[in-house]
Symmetry: C2
Subunit: 511 residues, 2 copies
């Protein structure tokens, strides 16, 4: 037995990391198990460690309480256990803990602060050059988004033919010099020419991802990790059951201690032909066993939603399955699944040839507002056609579009609501009306807050009546020009003149 | 017996009219029946006449053949019959006969010329001042539309509080001086204060409508007559069964002989609370009995479609029943009903407070293109909020919007297709692709004509492949800027660069 006392500061929901060095004869990734048990007054958790190369094994732990922790770590090839103790200081500025489901349809950080996800997608931004990664982080620092979806494995697809900065496994990739945008799909799922040892990870690949997760954490951005995906020329999407499980447990042991991690089992799970529902359920089970912190879990579809009613799924992660409507059905999805509805893919702003990637900024922002006023959460992506083939949607970099500023404006509106989230008030014709999503007895007919959106309709005026007694302050919101105009207070029946333009909203609050 | 020979020129599908004078003791509208039988080599038709005031009874007949006709007319209170003969000359310029269903999903005039309806709605344009009617006809002469929907009865509704220039019955209306836009719905369906004799028509009301129908005929515009509607403060929507039937037979006897008449049993039939499905079926039966020319017949809904599969219905006359989609479902409606799909109400361009009347011109034109490329036909209406309360949708006058020019442009494109109509080609992702609507054996995979619409998506380029042999001419159509750009001819796989703008289309024709 060896004993440590840690004097370094570990904050609540920070990462405590302990490194042990041991020389292992066999494959340290597969033949060596390292585990830790962490105990404080309020919790006890068993966590997996992992091999990080160079003879170093690490155990990471995220303490959830400001308490003194003791721990015990064992390496199963040795008789030795390591013991120690450390104290947890209060959470630092901007650290609210991991995000949890709150009030059935919404989210809050563990300290109770509401989290209203306003996400974007940059599938492999963290596998691009250092310079491009820096540019991405600079763009993200503008505060447009508080969640980003990205993949662990590199991506092979149209506009995604380059090699990543690192690979997850030891080995060498196929020769990609012959790939072009015209022939890339001949190589999709083709594994010849790759030479990987799926039992030996490349720790540097994962360390890079961890640096990215921490950089996002600094910016207050949740890392919605896409663990598997079908856009592949390296064979990572068609490994054996045993190889998949090794990958999952390795990843879980490395990333679970980061508070801003969410698990997305896959992007477009239903395009992964070699995986069955039984496989997805098995991976889900691995998460529930090996992530001791119960980070948020979902799975993203192409043609058909996964069964979001499965108990391990914390929230719906939706790609639209119809050409015309998706945001417009958020209230129906809520009713069906009784979980938060996050529209991770509702079409992207851009001009590429694919219909999912050539919306106007106006249409994307309209979808965000529709989703918000129906009690859900939109998702951004950008795919402008560019000669340099650097598209935000995959590579990050800079944004060329018009939607992000308006999405940030919406984010400000949404962060100012009086409750955790909003819900759709049915029955009001010709408008999308949101009210606070809290339980109100059936007798309540008038609410303290209304956010009413008119989308592509263009009324010149609207008339309102809630009751005879209450006084309401009324603001007219131009969701595209990003202006909030105070119109004063009103009681009883009142009329508000509007500019006969698209994309207007009203915020009506009881005084 | 009296005998006539008519030397006046009657053209094919024109109106032959015969007037008899008789003094009747009782009510000439109800107690006197006048009927005619018209015979030529190719047809024999029994037609109803009607009382037109001042002791005059009239019989109208539309000959469908260039032949010599004999006729016999009888007034059932007298023993006398009138006989005569006339010759029918060829149809004049622009006269193609009444419109019929053609090729299941489309229309053609009786002479075989295709008719592709591009309709508008001006509910009571013909009951406005002479001056406003003239302005409406002037606007219609611009060739934007070839069909217009309007009502026989005056309309009571928001923005429709004025009195019509005439009433259909003898009597006096309620005092409407107290009506305002705020209280009008208190008067809807309220009949107190009206004093009408529902057994005595006001012939001048109907003569005015007939003048309007003929003026439209001059412009090549079909008159889609709305026989009943719910927007009423005069009691015309809640007459007894007997009164309704008298109205229907009178109207049928007056208007059936005009070749450009279509019958719309009602606007928003399902808002007429005093009428049951049995009533609508009874009216339908009256049409089939009393319109000897089988003009087109349909019925327009509010919340729920009428059962368009009823055999007397010639085509679907649709108002959208969902907030977001309608044009987008035209191909589904075709499959369901196996009849032409006319979207008579898909939202109007304008800025009034109602969601059905405040679309942008761009959105309305998008819906027209969507409908066209799915094998159906859109409908226009305009409801800009105006201080003078003269809105095209009800009153006619001038157009203030942006859609009509683009609708005329679409009309030109559609009138240039190689077949009667178009149909949707399923399975092409991210585009609405129309092909000629003719039977093609399953083995045919390449067509002579494609009209491809991109709607609100904005591709920078698209790639096409039909086969290795055919050569196609390609035109890029800017449906909003109304430009057709010839891009030359292509064989095999080819790529077309596009401007990354909304509302683009391609016309691809085999050379």
């Amino acid at each position: 037995m060896e004993s440590f006392t840690f004097t370094e500061r570990v904050e609540r929901w920070g990462v405590f990391e302990c490194t042990l060095t041991a020389q292992i004869q066999k494959n340290p990734f597969t033949d060596q198990k390292i585990q830790g048990t962490f105990t404080s007054r309020s919790e006890q958790k068993d966590v997996d460690g992992f091999y990080d190369g160079n003879g170093e094994f690490r155990v990471r732990f995220m303490p959830s309480f400001e308490e003194t922790y003791t721990f015990e770590i064992s390496l199963d090839s040795t008789e030795v256990t390591w013991e120690g103790e450390f104290s947890v200081s209060p959470a630092g500025k901007g650290n609210h803990g991991p995000v949890r489901v709150a009030d059935t349809f919404h989210f809050a950080y563990e300290d109770g602060t509401p989290h209203r996800p306003i996400g974007t997608t940059c599938y492999v931004w963290e596998l691009q050059s250092e310079e491009l990664q820096k540019q991405t982080l600079k763009t993200l620092s503008e505060g447009y988004f508080n969640k980003i979806r990205f993949c662990i494995f590199p991506k092979h697809y149209d506009y995604n033919l380059n090699e990543p900065i690192s690979y997850p496994y030891e080995g060498t990739p196929m020769d990609s010099s012959v790939l072009t945008s015209d022939n890339f799909n001949l190589y999709t799922g083709k594994t010849e020419g790759n030479s990987w040892d799926f039992t030996r990870f490349n720790p540097e690949h994962f360390r890079g991802i961890e640096r990215s997760i921490l950089a996002l954490q600094e910016l207050g951005i949740e890392a919605d990790i896409i663990v598997m995906h079908p856009y592949d020329r390296w064979g990572f999407s068609s490994m054996s059951e045993e190889e998949d499980d090794l990958y999952w447990t390795y990843l879980l042991s490395r990333l679970s201690a980061f508070r801003n991690v969410w698990w997305s089992l896959a992007n477009e799970y239903d395009l992964m032909e070699t995986k069955s529902i039984a496989d997805w359920e098995r991976y889900a089970n691995l998460i529930t066993v090996h992530d001791p912190y119960s980070h948020l879990r979902s799975i993203h579809n192409c043609k058909n939603f996964y069964d979001f009613s499965r108990p391990w799924i914390t929230h719906c992660s939706i790609q639209r399955t119809q050409m015309y409507v998706c945001s417009e059905e958020v209230d129906q999805y809520r009713t069906r699944y009784k979980k938060p509805v996050v529209l991770d893919e509702i079409g992207y702003e851009g001009t590429i040839q694919h219909g999912w990637g050539n919306l106007s900024g106006k249409e994307l922002v309209r979808r965000f507002w529709e989703a918000a006023c129906r009690g859900g959460y939109g998702g951004h992506g950008e795919t402008y056609y560019r000669e340099d083939r650097i598209l935000w949607w995959s590579h990050g970099g800079v944004l060329h579009g018009e939607s992000q500023e308006r999405i940030r404006f919406l984010r400000e509106i949404i962060e100012d609501i009086p409750t955790t989230g909003l819900k759709y008030l049915p029955g009001r014709s010709d408008e999308i009306c949101a009210i606070p999503d809290i339980f109100t007895p059936g007798s309540v007919k008038v609410y303290d807050y209304y956010l009413i959106y008119y989308g592509y309709t263009r009324p010149s005026f609207k008339e309102y009546y809630f009751d005879d007694e209450s006084t309401f302050s009324v603001e007219v919101i131009d969701t595209w020009d990003m202006r909030v105009e105070n119109r004063g207070t009103f009681t009883g029946k009142f009329r508000i003149d509007l500019p006969g333009k698209e994309y207007m909203a009203l915020r009506i609050r009881r005084v």
